[in-house]
Symmetry: C2
Subunit: 219 residues, 2 copies
Amino acid sequence: MEDDRDTDKKTDGKRISLSVVRRLPRYYRYLGELLDSGIKRISSKDLSERMRVTASQIRQDLNNFGCFGQQGYGYNVELLYGAIKNLLGLDRSYSLIIVGGGSIGRSLANYKNFARRGFIFKAIFDVDPALIGGVIGGVPVYSVDEMEGYIDANHIDAAVLALPKESAPEITERLAERGIKGIWNFSHMDLTAPEGVKMENVHLTDSLMTLSYWLNSDK
Amino acid sequence: MEDDRDTDKKTDGKRISLSVVRRLPRYYRYLGELLDSGIKRISSKDLSERMRVTASQIRQDLNNFGCFGQQGYGYNVELLYGAIKNLLGLDRSYSLIIVGGGSIGRSLANYKNFARRGFIFKAIFDVDPALIGGVIGGVPVYSVDEMEGYIDANHIDAAVLALPKESAPEITERLAERGIKGIWNFSHMDLTAPEGVKMENVHLTDSLMTLSYWLNSDK
């Protein structure tokens, strides 16, 4: 999951670097596991051993967004978890549309874990008459011609691109014109976000190729 | 798609750093697009503009695995593409099993692009009697009790973990004991690879959370 952004983002008057932002979900995951196991506080040293990053990086990262551990006490797991949840914008839910009802679009619509975390798929858009008018994983499928009208009539936070790379740039432009601010891109292509749009590129095949590299690297 | 490896790997007597390995699939993708558009040679400067990395990084990366551009000519796209394909181990096919027939396992089995690139799903293993004996996306589903026997009887290169994180460590151990050398991990957990096993962790939810961070970062 890589993208081309190298700029910093401003949060609470501080600038958080892209690499720190990328580590936030991981902190959130590990802190959630600690909470689940009833652990109430943790030192940067213990957290560093679990997460396999240095304790000094953890202190630096967490200082970045105003979470300070107490000397001799460590971090309050619940407070830290809540702060990162907030920072990640997970204290609310998001309405998403999926463009493309092929195997990736279907999978995402059928995968219930995203909804549990507040990411709700509202509609799927496709060009295939066999899909239009149907329902996938409880999500209605409309013609892509209706996309703009749907966005205008409903509050949509972000769009998922689950379509062939050939159509991805055009759809991206159309989404940006309707005011969509975030795109989760599964098309097999790095897309450059139009002005004002945040793009998160996912490349499953890249990950699989990395695995095949490792499988061959000892030979 | 992140993991905890920070060691270097040896290839052709040279050590390639993890960050270079992670960039290989991206080079492969861009070079494939160039080939598709009939472009036969490219300078590091032009490639750098397309890929949005510096030309000097491109030269450094490619030198790393013995691909040298010619002064005043640039890189031969086809040769470079072939060299990276080789390095990624994409000149052969791989047999994989999927552990977990839930929505992620189903999606992967139904997604035909992986097979096109030589990654063939041979069997799915699950604990659910309703799934066992059935077929998903053309792939037969067996009981997870039969997993070890299946691996012993068939040549399997790698396994996909598409199961709840609670079961992931135990299954990983069982796969490692049967000699599986590569694991593509979709469970919502960073897994540490046992000795001799390569682990590629995929975290779709982390990527989605990064997107929601961006959606909120301007406020």
